[in-house]
Subunit: 154 residues, 2 copies
DNA sequence: TGATAATTGACAATATCTTGTCAAAATGGC
DNA sequence: GCCATTTTGACAAGATATTGTCAATTATCA
């Protein structure tokens, strides 16, 4: 354990603390970049993410379930889903298993705009990843996934 | 380049896309954990971060400069700084180089509470990093720092 | 020097997300 | 079947962040 700059930290603890600050900054920068990327489609980063959770799910889910999958509060997702519904990107379908918890599904318009967003995302992500080692990126993925698992179980 | 799941992505682009989702989730989970950690001190994650930027700076800075350092908007930092000033954690000092852009400095109370937060953070971060390779964490730091640099220069 | 541009804090509007509360609906254990 | 617990959407309040605008101040440069 290093004693120079962060006397109370283990080496790993100090490295993780630096990573946390990186994450805060990356979060803001990625949201801003995403907003710019999908703004021409009438989307925002938040709406895009919710749309993605719906599109990539095997079967239709109610709002509360979407929120759990995304790691957000029910209310945050509910508000965005309501906005998406008002703009015709998603619609609610009856849930045979629950009277109130309607299932959220993409409309044709929603599927189209999500496909368009995906087509914009790929070259943008490819360019952003240019020169970065795939192996390193997978290390980042593995470490962050572990971190998220630990934070979720607290 | 893999052709199976993300046909438009390079391998690195696909890995980076997964990392972006990790970052969004980690951001929320870390903010929530930070809020719980420093709540007994009368702080929040946002206030703690601003306090940290002030504490770790070599010399006193005005709000706009703090915002640039943190990668946030001027207005977001201004609001938090005003809250911190109202609660006696920071005070404004005249800036010899600028009539309006006052310098933000910690009060004794602000320095104390930041020291207390640091003492709580270290064991918490150490525990969260337990079992993670320091080398991997430094890889994460390096990759995210590169990412942030690229996102900032756009 | 003097005009133009950039920076800064103040103010307003808005988006995103959180916590808390409530009643309806579903679930689980007896 | 019944009751306690959990889940769910609705509603409200507040924290955190963004963009846009404005006037005051500072910096730049011809």
């Amino acid at each position: 354990m290093s004693k120079t700059r962060y006397p109370l930290h283990t080496d790993a603890g100090a490295a993780l603390t630096a990573v946390m600050l990186d994450i805060f900054r990356a979060n803001g920068a990625l949201l801003a970049a995403g907003d710019r990327l999908v703004e021409p489609l009438g989307l925002t980063s938040a709406r895009w993410q919710v749309l993605g959770s719906i599109a990539l799910s095997d079967h239709a889910l109610p709002v509360a379930h979407l929120a759990r999958v995304m790691g957000l509060s029910r209310q945050a997702v509910q508000r965005v889903v309501n906005d998406l519904e008002a703009e015709g990107f998603v619609r609610f379908e009856p849930n045979p298993h629950h009277k109130r918890a309607h299932l959220v599904v993409l409309t044709g318009k929603g599927a189209d705009v999500y496909a368009a967003a995906s087509e914009k995302e790929a070259p943008w992500a490819n360019a952003l990843a240019e020169g970065l080692s795939t192996e390193d990126l997978e290390t980042v993925h593995r470490v962050l996934a572990t971190l998220n698992r630990r934070l979720d179980t607290d």
